[in-house]
Symmetry: C2
Amino acid sequence: MKTGSPIYLDHAATSWPKPERVSQSMLEILNGPAANSGRGNYRMAMNAGRTILQTRTALAQLLQVENANDIVFTSNTTEALNLAIKGCLREGDHVVATMVEHNSVRRPLEYLKRTKGIQVDYIPVSAQGVLDMAELKERVTSQTRLVVCAHSSNLLGSILPVEEIGKIAHAAGALMLIDAAQTIGCYTVDVKQTGADMIAFPGHKSLLGPQGTGGLYIRPELELEPLLHGGTGSQSEAVEMPKVRPDQYEAGTLNTVGIAGLGAGIRTVMEYGIEKIYQHEWQLTQQLMQGLLEIKGLTCLGPELGMPRTGLVAFTLEGFDAAEVAFRLDRQYQISVRAGYHCTPLGHMSAGTTGRGAVRASVGYSTTVQEIEALITAMKQIAQ
Amino acid sequence: MKTGSPIYLDHAATSWPKPERVSQSMLEILNGPAANSGRGNYRMAMNAGRTILQTRTALAQLLQVENANDIVFTSNTTEALNLAIKGCLREGDHVVATMVEHNSVRRPLEYLKRTKGIQVDYIPVSAQGVLDMAELKERVTSQTRLVVCAHSSNLLGSILPVEEIGKIAHAAGALMLIDAAQTIGCYTVDVKQTGADMIAFPGHKSLLGPQGTGGLYIRPELELEPLLHGGTGSQSEAVEMPKVRPDQYEAGTLNTVGIAGLGAGIRTVMEYGIEKIYQHEWQLTQQLMQGLLEIKGLTCLGPELGMPRTGLVAFTLEGFDAAEVAFRLDRQYQISVRAGYHCTPLGHMSAGTTGRGAVRASVGYSTTVQEIEALITAMKQIAQ
């Protein structure tokens, strides 16, 4: 599938190409005898239910969650984060977040500031992507209801110490929510290790599933106000959402076809192994940085060479507009990268790129050394 | 695809099988060069954007909407109804709904009763599915903010006079929201004709798209509070959702693959023609009712023979549990129908089937006369 294809380096937005078994699984459930899960007890409806359960179980295994029903499906990370944030915060609550949060965290928080008078502290992050832990410790108090943190910055690529942050949150009696948009599938995200109360994640990035999938892990004892109220196929006579997981948080018809594809994506990731994927992607980012840093006027954002980072490198080139660089990479070199603001204005403030944006190249498990070489060569030509 | 397949008569839950071009369109976008719409200006991202625009445009044509951006994508009807209802109602508002609303309308309303003190009147519907218009006229006053109405009852199959109801709503200064879950794709749902302010609809029922798709039409001047706050790829530096459609209501990554499939489904529907589909389905329901009514102790719910109805017939059989009937149809006859409460407890109150539930058979554009005959024969044998 890759021969003759463009060089795709925007895996942080969505992975591509998907493994072939992803589309196979989707076709099987779309064209095979499968109907609407939980909406009937006939076999076709149960086939749909079984597929959804398989993917839920695979996710539980990946996240080290004991009961798969503590993982609920959403249509993307944004929905998962909205469910988590709006579901747990009440009038006047205090929240601690970081400066590298994506708009999918920041905008729900700002909305609740406006409508429910919550208070939010955004903890500074250095240009290298390092969180100011002293400041965090100071800001998390017994008044804090929620600490929310990107596991890895989608602009800087740095990995945040969510385990340590979670301990600080829990010591203060606060909840810990991890936004695993940039880590699930390419870096260990593990409920046991992190002790997180909630983990929001996408299905279509490093888990290699199709767009339209994502989910939220919710600790068993934690009860959220559902984001969606509606039919569940269970306890239909009740006016309230049934207090049964996953139904309580999954009103309406699920994306059965997408969830089938996600299951196949997760199986691929688990066969490869997360550690191997991380190492592969890290090697590629190091190769890329080494090549790019030879270019005069080019600055790579985030962690320095040799430091841990997820599979993305954002950079600026003096005298060049980010959008122009991306445009030329696309048109002249068939290389797909993303340019612009990456939905994280405070992240750009941390990086010192406010008003300028950045070019971001991001790799996946299938990205090759040759593709990185092609990008380096192209950038050298553009910079001349 | 149908040879040797079970006889599928649960189209009101989800249509099956989907036209072959639906999976073809999905595969093309999944495996072809297409990335994340609106998250980059490179060609692969624009390919995804183009696909989404095509489906949005097809929907606009179907719904007679001038500007396709007034239609926003959701993951199902439930999300569309949650966006519509929670997005327009404020503290203390008055709402008029009907007794045949699905839980996807009733549960959001009951939630807002509890949290925002809204007041709701559910207008009675007769066992034949006829809404008490006199009562409706009385309840809709200048205090009413929203009138919400199922276009067709998912239990009774009756078609509600949404055009007339909309006029009453507008005369009182209220908004009109139509739940088109059971009509879009098999009965005319038209913004121009109905004058509705909002229309919520599924992609995976009579529009023949995959699960995980749906949408909401929102009248141009009407501004809702978004249900999801998050990244839009546009105006990333703003803390608020951009007031640009469709971005304002579409935070997060869309289900590009599903939306591609939905586009193919809509094209199939438009080629067949809505009126032809309605007539085909109506003929089949009449055939089914005629056959079923010969069975002693069997009662069909909703409109009488010869009256308009959408493609579903719910029924009870004296001395038989609905679930048992559905189970036997599935196991002994390979016929898939749904039994139970159909997510509409007040609908069952209208039908007089509270505590008993009902068996529901529902047809699609591809259902055949032979399949209906098979169900009638099976029911005659079961009843003996």
